[in-house]
């Protein structure tokens, strides 16, 4: 796993990349990440996740996402 200090750099790059047109990412990322392959890999996998992430993923609260039977047993009306 990447170290905490470099993760801060990864976050900065991802945050900026999300404001850049996707088709410009390859050259833009190459310029931003330079020779740092680890940062480049972290950034690209996070950007890939941004293209697939379900909008509902951990939106709401943990209690709302629990199956009904986890919170209560059903009783007939």
């Amino acid at each position: 796993m990447i170290d905490p200090e470099r993760y801060q750099r990864v976050k900065d790059v991802v945050d900026l990349a999300l404001k850049v047109e996707r088709k410009a990412w390859p050259s833009w990322l190459a310029e931003r990440c330079g020779d740092d392959v680890e940062v480049f890999l972290e950034v690209t996998t996070l950007l890939a996740a941004s293209q697939h992430v379900d909008p509902t993923f951990i939106e709401g609260t943990a209690l709302e996402l629990l199956p009904a039977q986890a919170l209560g047993g059903r009783i007939k009306p």
């Binding site: 996998t45 697939h52 951990i58 986890a70 919170l71 059903r74 009783i75």
Partner: protein
Amino acid sequence: MPHSTQVTQLLIRWSSGDSEALAKLMPLVCEQLRDLAGGYLRNEAAGHTLQPTALVNELYLRLHGCRTVNWKNRAHFFGFAAQTMRRVLVDHARGRKRAKRGRGERPVSIDGSFDLMQDPQSLDLIRLNDALEALETLDPRQAEIVNLRFFVGLTVEETAAVLDISAPTVKREWKLARLWLYREMRGPSTAK
């Protein structure tokens, strides 16, 4: 007045040195969490009545126990609430998983594929907990933001007030943390 507004106002009073605000804050937070559980139960009922089980009872008991703690600040207090919620819910999810295995049922959400997140009900809390533990070592503040938002249900503004950072910072960190956790939960192909 909505609870969230009251909570925010009490947080501001507390941060300004009003020690009485803390005493009023605790029951409000407990009530907010109870409302979350109650609202969920009502939504799920659909013609049935749902009876709170040991999970909800345990949650209340543990949260009421925090009245005796000497709180250092808002972050300490809400951090406790978030950790309590998380521990109770994850322990419960583990118990359910063990019970399913015991009955020979196929566990839910085992492969970590993107599909497992398509249905919010199938979110695997155990995997989320594992990913959050990894994020805590990498970026403790980002993990704390997730704890407060997801396990306590604080808004962006409330989270910002609790952690004494700006709302835009919370939004940015939340957005990036979601991506990081989502990627981690995809499975073994994740870059680490």
